[in-house]
């Protein structure tokens, strides 16, 4: 049944994609959106049963290629991915109905719908593919569709970003291809089923893991390979960048889990530690660079790098758990990673949709030109605030729950781990803590400078609330943010089930009634519903106090902002750069890393500039050294022979007779 529904969902996406090309722009955009929403529902319907009972469903068809069968497998992990993709795609489609029409009218809305739906369908297929060839095909199809979304603006900056993005994505998929082919050389078959049980020799296993880590890391936006992310995501239309940031980077993390854990069994300890290290570095540097941004969408893009770092930390701890035989630690690690994967997909896409709504009204991505939108666009502001609270992992929302589990997994690893782990885990926890604080500061800046304070530009003053479908899209995600947060006791066991299926079926209790705990309640308990109720209840105390004295107080009035007696003007307002200036001063070594890397790249670039010149010289070298001498030699020989052909046919008759005589002589001899 689930695979039937899944096929229906993919069918809906692809049919609506193609249909949106055929019809006029306005209806095309609408068809694509409706197709996407229905497809999403079908996708969630397919994923739900598998998530609930954890029974993997698989089917193998004989595809056109004899060496690779078309195999699909909807297991726990894939179901979680499909559900997340479906949720975010539904919200993006809802948002896109009017957003595409307002922002990109006349510039191929139908084509955008086509690529959006194709992109989502490809992602779902990647999650479910169970054969190396088809995995790579859909992996690249995903990059291809998103390339056209990133370059949709067709200006120089978008094209440059698109180029960088697709090249790194293609290089990444080539690394993954090498990894699969190494496994293919060992097992002789391209099916993942064969890969899972493969007895891979230790050395090739490490090579395959490293290839997969960097191949999928490039797609996920891990620090050394993240350069494309802050340029590509802002360039795409907002509901597309919501999908890009929210879900596509997760395919990278999903890939690392598939290869590292399912195929290679995460046997080696240093694998887990390496992933943990990359995760921690990505978290810290990601948020540090995010703080420095003026462009709202670039800021959010850098935060994707940070949150991917957090997910990788969870995966790293999970792999450490498996390698050191602590299955409960492994389950908690993967639970943290997968839960954060879902949460990040939800709140990051909410933030991008919010940013998109603001940018349609302001017309530019620069935060300096915004401000005063809290009153002008209240609903968007509230949604963006919920997203900001969630991403800063503030209780009781979903970001806090998954980060709490990450902390707990780091704690358990530090408690029982080997020497190296007991050092690495606390350091990672500290880096996660710093990142948390910087993230809070960054989103205070983002929300404050964008929405709060005075309107700092004409469009900001004239801004009005966005249309209802966009609000519906954001509302859906905001609601799921809250539900995933407060509903942790319901959600945690589901994700825990998927995590334990990764670790080999050992069930670890993660939730009981309203409480949620990392395997053993003694280590630590959390109850987000309780916190939510208490927060609302305790808010009553200050309300009660002010109400007591309300009678004697004159009505509230408003006046100009106090500026030491001067008339307040817009320049006085804190700017995006000014707000983050202390961090740039105090954390200078952190920013040194990027400038050194930029200098290295510049040096490489101008070395590359010499290549075309050299190649052009090499090209005509062939003609000069090889062909010209042959040509001249043949020409000279020709001149000598020319004498024979003097033009006097009398001489020719002599030649004939001479030849006759010679032949007669030869014959007779």
């Amino acid at each position: 049944m689930p695979l039937g529904l899944f096929a229906l969902s993919i069918g809906l996406y692809t049919v609506s994609a193609v249909a949106s090309l055929a019809v006029s722009e306005r209806t095309g955009g609408r068809i694509a959106a409706i197709g996407a929403v229905l497809g999403a529902l079908a996708g969630m319907g397919a994923a739900a049963p598998v998530l609930a009972d954890g029974q993997a469903v698989a089917v193998t068809l004989a595809g056109p290629f004899p060496f690779a069968s078309f195999a699909l497998r909807l297991d726990g992990l894939a179901a979680l991915m499909v559900a997340t993709i479906a949720l975010v795609s539904a919200a993006a489609a809802l948002f896109g109905i009017t957003y595409a029409q307002e922002e990109y009218a006349g510039r191929g809305v139908g084509v955008m719908g086509f690529f959006m739906n194709l992109f989502v369908a490809a992602m779902m297929m990647v999650a479910v593919a169970d054969n190396a060839l088809w995995f790579i095909v859909f992996f690249e199809l995903m990059s291809l569709a998103s390339f056209f979304l990133v370059t949709f603006e067709q200006d120089a900056e978008a094209i440059g970003a698109g180029w960088l993005y697709f090249v790194i994505a293609h290089a990444g998929s080539m690394l993954v291809l090498i990894a699969f082919l190494l496994l293919f050389a060992v097992t002789g078959s391209l099916d993942f089923a064969a890969f899972r049980g493969a007895a891979v020799p230790a050395s090739t296993a490490s090579i395959v893991f490293l290839l997969a880590l960097f191949g999928f890391g490039a797609k996920a936006g891990m620090i050394p390979l993240h350069v494309w992310l802050p340029r590509a995501h802002p360039a795409a239309p907002s509901h597309a960048s919501a999908l890009l940031s929210g879900v596509m980077v997760k395919i990278g993390a999903f890939g690392i889990i598939r290869v590292g854990v399912e195929f290679l069994g995460a046997r080696v300890l240093w694998w887990g530690l390496l992933v943990l290290a990359f995760g921690a570095v990505s978290t810290l540097l990601g948020v540090a660079y995010a703080l420095m941004q003026h462009d709202l969408k670039r800021l959010l893009a850098y935060h994707t790098v940070e949150n991917i770092g957090i997910i990788l930390m969870g995966i790293g701890i999970g792999m450490v758990g498996i390698a050191s035989g602590q299955s409960s630690l492994a389950v908690i690690g993967f639970l943290a990673a997968l839960y954060h994967l879902v949460n990040h997909a939800v709140f990051k896409s909410l933030l991008f949709l919010g940013a998109g709504a603001v940018i349609t009204r302001i017309g530019s991505k620069d935060m300096g030109r915004m401000g005063g939108l809290l009153r002008a666009m209240p609903w968007t502001a509230v949604a963006f605030l919920i997203g900001a609270l969630a991403i800063c992992a503030l209780p009781p929302l979903n970001g806090f729950v998954s980060e709490w589990f990450t902390y707990q997994s780091l704690f358990i690893a530090a408690l029982h781990g080997s020497a190296l782990v007991r050092l690495a885990a606390p350091l990672s926890a500290v880096m996660l803590g710093i990142a948390g604080a910087l993230a809070a500061m960054c989103f205070v800046k983002a929300f404050g400078v964008t929405f709060a304070g005075e309107a700092r530009s004409e469009p900001a003053k004239a801004a009005t609330e966005v249309s209802w479908p966009m609000l519906a899209g954001m509302g859906l995600l905001a609601a799921s943010c809250i539900l995933l947060g407060i509903g942790a006791p319901i959600m945690a066991p589901l994700v825990g089930g998927v995590a334990s299926s990764l670790v080999g079926g050992s069930t670890t209790a993660v939730a009981d009634g309203v409480l949620v705990f990392p395997g053993d309640p003694a280590i630590g308990e959390l109850s987000t519903p309780l916190i939510a109720i208490l927060l609302i209840g305790l808010a009553g105390v200050p309300l009660l106090i002010t109400a007591l004295f309300a009678a004697r107080r004159p009505r509230r009035r408003s006046s100009a902002v106090w500026a030491c007696g001067y008339l307040p003007d817009a320049q006085m307002h804190v700017s995006a750069g000014g707000f983050a200036e202390p961090i740039r001063v105090l954390f200078r070594p952190l920013y040194g890393v990027r400038s050194r890397a930029a200098r290295g790249l510049a040096a490489a670039a101008d070395r590359f500039a010499a290549v075309p010149g050299g190649a052009a010289r090499a090209e005509e070298l062939w003609d000069r050294l090889l062909l010209a001498p042959i040509g001249r030699g043949v020409q000279a020989a020709g001149e000598q022979l020319q004498v024979l052909q003097g033009g006097d046919f009398r001489v020719y008759c002599l030649y004939i007779v001479a030849a006759l005589i010679v032949l007669l002589a030869v014959v007779t001899v």
Binding site: G646, G647, D648, R650, V651, C653, L654
Partner: protein, 216 residues
């Protein structure tokens, strides 16, 4: 004087006539001398027919007479007679040299023919040598003459030489061979005449040396 001596005598007469053809001043004279030579050739055929009692040679003689003595010289006379090229440079080789050269050729041919063991025509060896010499004389005519028309006559001499050789060695051959040989000769002459006239018309010269632009 037996038939054989007659044949050898007529053959030697052939050499003389070919020399005449080579040295003749104008094209018309050459045509006449060619007709004469063909007549001599016919006589050789008749003599041969009588001595070797080869009845087919009579037919050969008749055909040869019709074509070579009457038809070909007529064509050449009528078409080539009119053409003359005042600018033609005088011959490089004097008459004397030509004769000496011809004698040398005949001597060589005798040496060659005598070395060869020929069962059929043992007695006719001198005629055979003459025919071979005749063939080479035609070649010398082509080579030493600058006049385009002389090339045509050179070819005809060579053709007569080979015709004579054929007659001597394969006198039992059916008339068909003769007809083939003769038509070949006629057509060759016709073609060469046409080419000569076209060259004359286009390049206004008959000097072979001017025709180097034809080279590849």
């Amino acid at each position: 004087m037996t038939g054989l001596q007659l044949v050898n005598g007529l053959a030697s007469l052939l050499i003389v006539t070919s020399l005449l053809v080579i040295e003749a001043r104008g094209a018309a004279q050459s045509a006449l001398y060619y007709a004469l030579q063909s007549l001599v050739l016919v006589l050789v055929f008749l003599a041969l027919a009588a001595t070797v009692d080869a009845p087919r040679l009579f037919a050969w003689a008749a055909i040869a007479f019709v074509t070579k003595v009457v038809l070909v010289p007529a064509i050449m006379y009528r078409t080539l007679g009119r053409m003359s090229d005042p600018t033609l440079a005088p011959r490089r080789f004097g008459l004397a040299w030509t004769i000496i050269f011809a004698a040398a050729v005949v001597a060589v041919c005798f040496a060659v023919v005598s070395a060869i063991h020929l069962p059929g025509a043992a007695t006719l060896k001198p005629a055979l040598a003459i025919s071979l010499a005749h063939f080479f004389l035609g070649l010398t005519c082509i080579v030493i003459q600058r006049n385009l028309l002389k090339q045509v006559f050179g070819f005809c001499l060579m053709e007569n030489g080979s015709h004579l050789t054929l007659a001597l060695m394969a006198n039992q051959a059916p008339e068909l061979v003769e007809i083939g040989l003769v038509t070949d000769a006629i057509f060759a002459v016709v073609v060469m005449v046409i080419i000569a006239t076209m060259i004359r018309a286009k390049l206004q010269t008959l000097d072979v040396g001017q025709l180097t632009s034809l080279r590849g």
